[in-house]
């Protein structure tokens, strides 16, 4: 085969492939987007449900979606985490649901109905980038399932002075009450997030990455409950490079971090599969720790990178501070206030 024919064939193939990305003849870009959204809505709307429940204030209503054919549902904690008499509504059917796990730390709940159900395929929020198109399909107010189209605005660990864990997907998708727990979908119809809250005036929203929900789900399947991990490290900005990886400020004695060999002054470069570029990245990475699991810690010490292995434990229960203070008061000469001040300054 001559070089000319090969070259011509390659040019033709490239032209054909690129033409697929353009709207069909006579169709505008907006019509193409509309067609995509309609396809996703038509194919996946049956897997998205309205969820009604009761709490101490009365009845409430939100959204959720099936993640497998056995009736497992992801929704927000407000709707399914601490409520009773949960009913899943889809079309004309109303099914009672039981709560498998409610995790206030992440803001989601996992429910289950006894039925064979359509379901959404789980995607990867890590494949999203700024301006990636996304769709929310939920039940706003008392309206039927409604699609809303928008784009990813960013991935945030900080909002209005408060820090988020893990990093949330910020999407420029207008949402309304009743849509809490609805899925955030990519244009393939894969679930990449769970709608948690609106932003200012409901013109945008924050969605929990689907990987965070999967982490809670995996904990439930393994242990019957969410099981966040703890290492015993405090980090802050490195004095020499405040824009770079964080510095380890303190390692709790006898903690998993101490047993791994981590030292004060080390620069933290990675936790598990997550690379750390700033102190805020720690909030995202630490969410995925599981008590009992070993996790690699990539650190830089004296200019050299090294990997330490730490086995996370459960987050310690709060100590009885009152009991300690009473012990202090029983011993003259040891002022509890002075001791606490010395420890915490």
């Amino acid at each position: 085969m001559s070089r000319l024919s090969v070259f011509s064939g390659a040019i033709l193939a490239a032209f054909c492939l690129s033409s697929l990305a353009w709207p069909a003849r006579g169709e505008s870009v907006f019509e193409a987007i509309s067609r995509e959204v309609q396809v996703v809505y038509a194919q996946h709307q049956s897997a998205i449900v309205r969820i009604q429940a009761e709490d101490e204030h009365g009845r409430l209503s939100g959204s959720g979606f099936y993640i497998d054919p056995n009736g497992t549902i992801f929704t927000s904690y407000t709707i399914g985490g601490d409520t009773r008499n949960i009913v899943v509504c889809s079309g004309d059917s109303k099914l009672p649901a039981e709560r498998l796990v409610g995790d206030a730390r992440s803001g989601i709940a996992i429910l289950k109905v006894k039925a064979r159900t359509p379901f959404l395929v789980i995607g990867k929020s890590a494949d999203l980038s700024v301006a990636s198109p996304v769709i929310v399909i939920g039940y706003p107010m008392d309206l039927p399932a409604t699609p809303t189209f928008g784009a990813v605005g960013g991935f945030d660990v900080k909002y209005l002075g408060r820090y988020l864990s893990p990093a949330y997907i910020r999407a420029n998708v207008p949402v309304e009450r009743g849509e809490g727990g609805a899925p955030l979908l990519n244009l393939k119809g894969e679930a990449v997030g769970i709608l948690i809250s609106p932003r200012e005036n409901g013109t945008g929203c924050f969605a929990l990455p689907i990987e965070a929900a999967e982490k809670v789900h995996a904990d439930f399947l393994r242990f019957g409950e969410a099981r966040p991990g703890w290492l015993g490290i405090t980090v802050g900005k490195a004095p020499r490079d405040e824009e770079g990886p964080p510095e380890v400020r303190e390692v709790i004695p006898d903690s998993p971090a101490a047993k791994s060999g981590l030292q004060k002054g080390d620069l933290l470069l990675g936790i598990g599969e997550k690379r750390i570029h700033s102190p805020e990245d720690v909030l995202d990475a630490s969410f995925y720790l599981t008590a009992g699991d070993e996790v690699p810690l990539l650190v830089s010490r004296d200019g050299k990178e090294t990997t330490l292995q730490a086995r996370a434990v459960g987050i310690p229960a709060p100590l009885d501070a009152l009991r300690i203070l009473k012990d202090f008061a029983a011993h003259p000469g040891v002022s509890p206030v002075e001791t606490i001040w010395k420890v915490n300054k």
Partner: protein, 139 residues
């Protein structure tokens, strides 16, 4: 070796550990729920309770509660007596007020029934994502 409660260093270690332990978000959410519930209970006291407390404050203390209670009961008896007398006089010759009201606004009862049938649940979405960390970050 168990920590020595007389040793300030051991106590310091315990307190340092305490710094890194904090209740989960459910503790604070539960606290806010209870706080708001108590606020509502305080604000939404029954009218009779508010009136009794104000009357007691006006007359200067708990000593007068019994007097106020007896007085209120007497006033209620008088009102009831007058109401019964009025009802009997209305029945003797005039058209019942209730029936007249119904004829004038036949839609009132229907409108109330419609309101009950269409009572809506709370359509929920969280106001903000779960957030509770403050720097420095501990994990």
């Amino acid at each position: 070796m168990p920590p020595d409660k007389d040793n300030p260093d051991d106590i310091s270690k315990l307190l340092r550990l305490k710094r890194f332990e904090q209740p989960g978000p459910e503790y604070f959410e539960g606290f806010l729920r209870d706080f708001h519930r108590r606020q509502r209970e305080e604000v939404l006291r029954p009218l009779w309770r508010i009136a009794l407390d104000r009357a007691g404050a006006f007359f200067g203390g708990d000593i007068h509660r019994e007097i106020i209670g007896y007085g209120t009961a007497a006033a209620a008896a008088v009102v009831l007596f007058l109401g019964v007398v009025n009802f009997e006089s209305v029945e003797s010759g005039k058209q019942p007020v209730a029936a007249a009201s119904a004829e004038k606004s036949p839609d009132t009862r229907t409108a109330s029934a419609n309101m009950l049938r269409t009572e809506q649940p709370r359509y929920v979405i969280d106001t903000r994502p779960v957030s509770y960390h403050e720097p420095p970050f501990s994990f």
